[in-house]
Every structure is written in C-alpha cells, then in structure tokens.
C-alpha cells in the first residue's frame, strides 16, 4: 500500500470509527471500566509536616498500600492538576515530586502502564514542562500523554447527572483499570475551592458547557459517571487567594499537608476545612453530598490523622 493510500484510508477509517464512537453511549458501554472503590481500614487519611513524597509513603501505608488499588498487570491513569504554565513554587499545579512518588508506587505494585495527563488551560506543552510534572513523571517511567486534542475524547452518557447529562471524556479515563486523582488544594474564583471534584474538569473536553450550565452542579454531577479509585489531595503549598492561576508567590502558604481518601466528597470536605472554609459553604461539595456521592460530615468518618 502506498503511503498516500494509507493516509487517505486512515482518514476515511478515522471518520468511520469516529462517527461510530460519537454515537452517545457507545464508548461507555463498550469499553469504559467501572470504578471499583476498595474497602480500606480508614475512610480518610490526613497527614502533615512532611515532604509530599514522604507523607504519601506513610499515608498510603495506612490505607493498605497502593497494592490495594493497583493489581499486577493493570493500567493506571493519574490525573494531576497541570492547568497552568507556571513554576511549581506558585502551587497552581500539583507537586511534581508527589506525582513521581505515586508513579513509583504504582510500578512497584506491578502496574503495566502508568499514564499522566491533564486537559490544561494554558498551552499544554508549556504547562507540562513548567510544572515539571512531565519530567518527574517520565523519570519514574510514566507515559505523559497530551490532553488538549478533541480526538482523544469520547462521548459518554451521565444518566444520574442533574445538569450534566453527557460529556466527552478522555479515552484513558475510560480504558485504564485504575484512576488516581491528584488535585492540588487552591482557592478558586468561580468554584470557590478547587480540590478533587473540580480537578475532574481536566478530563472532559468542553469545560465551557459546565460553566454555562450551572457550574457547581456540573462539578458534582460528573463523579456520578466515574469516581476516581483514589483521591490524593496535595496541600503542601496552598494558593490561598487569586486562585486557580495565582498572581505571585505571595498568594501561596506552606501547609505541608496531604489528604487521601477513596471518598471524593470526604476528601474535598477535609481539604476545605484545612483551607478554612466549611465544606457546606462550597456549593459543589454540598451538591455532591446530596447526590449521594460521599460523606460531607467528617465526624461520621473513620479518619487516621498522622504527623510526620
């Protein structure tokens, strides 16, 4: 086959495959994997006063190790916040050292492939590089994958959503066995705070739709389609104002904290408290609780508190 034929056939085939996959719900039924939330000793682990990677080592041990979530031969997708073209000190993106350590844990547990991506706000190549996440994740052997091309996104139905009934989701979220969500805790001009649930805006294609159609409800609606298997909230350096992008280093305070939970609502509630805001005052956390996605009342949870 000549190269030219190959390309033309490729285009035709691509259109055919694309139109098949663009039938709503096709991809989610055929390929997407269900989330499988694991039983752990604690509902939530909170840890402070250590370096990000050291805190993760200790905290994940309390949940039974990453092996509880990642089995031999499985594929893992890690979703950090890599939204902005800024350096790690500005704390607009997840700590790169934490990402590296999580990747290492996954491979130690026998993961076949570990993917890292985000649908960034600034130019993705610059975000991947300035955040240093690309470098650290690759060092640990992960595949760093682009997230800013529509062809990677597949249409799915979100039947339990109130405002968000369907969306286009990155194919790696749909095809990977394990989904680990690694947000960074930040102030946020529209969502008030960005933590675990808000971080999932970086795995869908059309953020504008969420913004137009009741943002706080859409953020809560999405996890009814797919909850991450594990949420690791990076609260080492925290942007207290001018989030999510930040203006200067003056916006950042050092909190040296981390929260890990399989319960996305609980993780966000605990992180909100850490930030100094009542979880119920963050509309999307309250909305998610009302959808039955997790527990907003931390007093009802079995929490392990650690200090390094």
């Amino acid at each position: 086959m000549k190269r030219r034929d190959f390309i033309s056939k490729g285009i035709v085939g691509g259109i055919a495959a694309g139109s098949l996959l663009s039938i709503p719900g096709f991809y989610s039924k055929a390929i997407a994997r269900p989330s499988s939330v694991q039983k752990t000793d604690y509902d939530l682990v909170a840890i402070k006063n250590g370096e990000p990677e050291v805190m993760f080592d200790s905290a994940i041990k309390e949940l039974g190790g990453i092996g509880k979530f990642v089995k031999k031969g499985q594929s893992v997708v890690i979703k950090p916040n890599i939204g902005w073209d800024v350096v790690p000190e500005k704390a607009a993106n997840t700590n790169p050292k934490l990402i590296k350590r999580i990747v290492e844990h996954c491979f130690n547990a026998g993961a076949k492939d570990v993917y890292v991506f985000d649908h960034t706000c600034d130019d993705w190549k610059r975000c991947y590089s300035s955040s240093e996440i690309e470098k650290y994740a690759k060092d640990a052997g992960a595949k760093v994958v682009p997230g800013n091309t529509e062809s990677y996104y597949q249409e799915v139905k979100i039947p339990k959503g109130k405002s968000l009934k369907k969306d286009k989701v990155h194919e790696l979220i749909l095809s990977s066995d394990v989904f680990i969500n690694v947000p960074v805790l930040k102030s946020h001009g529209s969502a008030r705070l960005t933590i675990s649930m808000k971080n999932l805006m970086g795995i869908v294609w059309d953020r504008g739709y969420w913004h137009r159609n009741n943002l706080q409800q859409c953020i809560a609606d999405f996890p009814t389609f797919r909850k991450p298997d594990l949420n690791i909230v990076d609260a080492y350096s925290v942007m207290k104002q001018n989030g999510p992008r930040g203006v200067s280093l003056a916006d950042v305070v050092v909190m040296k904290s981390q929260i890990i939970s399989t319960d996305i609502v609980a993780a966000d509630a605990a992180a909100a408290k850490l930030f100094g805001i009542e979880p119920a005052d963050i509309p999307h956390i309250q909305n998610a609780f009302e959808l039955g996605l997790g527990n907003i009342d931390l007093s009802k949870l079995n929490i392990k508190r650690l200090v390094v």
């Binding site: 709503p24 009934k165 001009g189 529209s190």
Partner: protein, 539 residues
Amino acid sequence: MSVVFFVPILIVFLDLADLVPHDMKLVFTNIQFIPAFLNFVQNPLVDFAIFFLLILITLIFGRIYCSSICPLGVLQDIVYYFVLKINKRKRFLYEDPKNIFRYSLLIISVVVFVAGNILLFNLLDPYSLFGKMSANLLRPVAMIINNGAASVLTSFDIYMLYPVDIFFHLPVFLFSLAMLVFIVWLVTKKGRLYCNMICPVGTFLGLISRYSIFKIRIVEDDCTSCKVCEKKCRAMCIDSNRQVIDYSRCVDCFDCISACSSKAIIFTAKNPLEKNAPIKTESVHIKLDMSRDNSSIKKLNNKKLENPKESSTIDNSKRDFVKTVIASFTLPSLILRATETPKVYKNSTIAEDKNYLVTPPGAGSIEHFNDYCTACNLCVTACPTKVLQPTFIEYGIFNLFQPKMDYHKGFCNFECKICSDICPTDAIRKINSLDEKKLVQIGKAHFIRENCVVITQGTDCGACNEHCPTKAVKMIPEDKLLVPKVEEDLCIGCGACEHACPTKPYKAIYVDGNPIHLTAKKPIVEKQKVIDTTEDFPF
C-alpha cells in the same frame, strides 16, 4: 549553497513541535532582503550590517541572493527541476527585459512604502510570499501527516507524536495557492520571470548586479553562438547571437557555464577580452567550484525526491487539501450531531463592541505594526497558543493578511513573548524581558453584565477570573454568587478572559485593542500570613 539557506527556512516554518531555538530561526529569516531592509529603515544605526552585506555581496558576485538565499528563488529552481524531469527538452530563448513593467513596479512599491503602506512588499516580497505559502500550504500538509502519524502511533499506545490543531484561513490560503500556481506556471513557461519582472527585490538587486565585479562573461573568441547557453538560461537573459548577457536579470544559477561545450562562458572579475592569463586560470577554479555548487543543487533536488514529506508538497498538496476540506466539514458536523443536548443555557443578547483589532505585544501601535508587517506569517506559525491569526481586510485593504490577536482561537500566553523574539521585520519589536512583556497593555477587557452567565443563569461561572493572569478581573460577591468586575489599569489585554468566557453567541467579556499600546499597573500583591503547621487538624 541553496541547501544551506533553503532547508533551514523550510524547517523554521514547518517546526510543528517548536523544537528549533528562536535565535537560530532568526538567523535565517533576518538575512532575507526585505526583513533586513525594514530593520535598517527602522533602526539605521543598529541594523545596517545585514542590509549592506546583502548589497555588498550583490556588488561583488551578482544576484547570489536570488539564486541561493531567497527561498522563493530556490522554490522556483525546485519547480524547474521537475519541469525538466517531465519535459527533458524544455528550452528557453532570449527575451527582452520587461523594463517598463519591472521598474515601475519597483518604484511604485517603494513610493507606496515611503507613503506609509507596505502592501506591495507584503504581496510581492519573495520571502514573505514564501512564508505565506509555507504557513498556509506546506504547514497544514505537514500537520495532516503529523496528525495521521500521531493517531496511528497512539493506537499502538505510543504518545511520541501528538496531534496539532489545524487552522484554516481561507483568504490567505487562496492567495498563497493562487501565487504558487502562478509562479509554477511562470517557471514552466518563462523560467525565473517572477524574479525579473515582478519581484521588487530582484529588480532592485538587478540594478546593482549590472555593476557587480564578478560576472558571467562570454569569451567571444571561443563562442560559436550555438545558443546552448541561451536555451539553458532560466532568466532568459543571454542573447547568444549578439553574445550579450543582461546582467540585471542574471540570477547566478551558472547553468550556462556547465552547459557550454566550448567553455566560452566563465565567471570572472575581468573582461576576458583583455586576455589576461592568470585571471583566466583563476576563473577556471571558480568555474569548477561553481559546477560543484551546481551538482549540490541537483543533490538537493534528488533529496527532495527521496524525502516523501517534501516532495508531496509539490504533488499532493492539492489532493491533500481537498481531503482536509472534506474532513474539516465532515468531522465537525459529526461532533455537532453528537453533542446536541437539551437547552438549559440562555443565549447572550448584547453584541461585543470592538473598535480596534488587537496587535501582539511588541507591535507598539497598530500604525507601526501596519507599516512594517509584510505578513510573512512566521509569528502565526510560531505562536504556541495560536492566538495570532492572519487577517484578510480587517486592517484595511492595504494591509492584507497582517496577523491579529484572535481571542476566539486562543489567548496570549502570559509567560511567552515568542512573536516579539522572532519577527524578522521588527513589526513586532523585541521585548527585552518577560517581566516587561507582562505589563504591556495591548488592549483592555470590557465586561457586559447582561451577557454574563452569573446574571442570566443565576449560577456560578467565573471562567474569566480563573484565566486572568493579573487578576484584573475580580469576583465581587452579590447575594450568594460572585460577579466579575474588570479593573482596566491591571488588564494587559491578553484575552484569556474572552477566550474562556462560555457565553454564546456573544461573549460577556471581550478585549478591545489599544491603538497605541500602554503600560499596565503591576498586579496587586497581598502577602498571606504564615500558617502554623504544628496545629491540630481542623477536623
């Protein structure tokens, strides 16, 4: 030698992954004649070296610029190579120069430029024309190939290549295509006639090359007037019967030297009639060098043949474009059909009131930008966020194709000033530091409250504030919601707010250009209190 100049400039325009350092790109674009001339005009005391060097080279060796440095010249030679492949007996014959036409075109170009309009350089300058062709014809082809390869690799779980967004700008695409077709046709019929009739650079350098020291000269005693050289001459400037060469049109291709069987054409500083033996031997050396140079051109052409990516640009571009057009019409319609949803959102009602286009930081003012931009499209290809897009007649019919900041395509990356680093004509002047760029106010954001989601829907949005790098867009509490408010002093006009604003069909926040760029106030810095991390968890 052509390879040395042509291949890099091709790479500069086709560098999809932005791998080549910008300083290196500049080396190859700044030596182009019109960019060098425009740099000289703007800053005669600093940027004179390249301009005078180009003139000096012409004064010594003739139109080397046209044979080797000019990318459009080399492109024509590549086309000519294929013409010869197809029609082995392709011959030219001497024609009289089109003096009235070419000199009036040159004079008009210069007069119009002096009068403050760059249109004719924009349309006729060979470098800018080649830039338009590369950016709008070659680059999309390269992108399609890249995207095809990327999707194939991705299906094998290899993410080495990544897909790129292809933007298709019809007017400049059609112009580039028309010019390419026109030039290919000219080459087929009349060789390098573009360079000798239309190109203002060629005509100007022709005025100098009449008096150049080294020239191709016919040794009258050895010449049999066999017309071989005349038929070979792609500039159609050798009159074999009269044994005369029109030096204003010779583009230094040296085909005649290798074609002449009686070795009656030599490249030398002195008139051979004076019969000076030492000079003649010297000229033989040069002759050998030149024939080697000639073979290197052939090698280049062969290389082009072997390399499918480049050869396809000649053969397949049209075909691939038809495919792109079809694909670009089919895919969106499929996507559109797939995303139809029950309408919750209320459409925005008030149109944006934009008075001025936004020019890139470094342009200084719309006027300066309009005066010096030749629309080579280099910044358009280099811009990482694709916010720089070619226009058609938005700047006026005398400022065709000059780029603008298009906030529907992207927004100006806060940490980037590539366009100002890379512009070869200094239409976008170099900004020394990123800190300086971050205060250049190219426009100001305006908020239309009545269009805003927070007002029309009564739900949170704040996409504008989220993206704003200086926090010129603040969120002000109103009831339980937060409503945007613009502080113009802090705004730099980057367009992040406008790009992110989700309202349809009109945006609730938009940037109106500053006709003259201003300096924004520094963002307000409020230091956060240090937190005592030894306290207990608050839960």
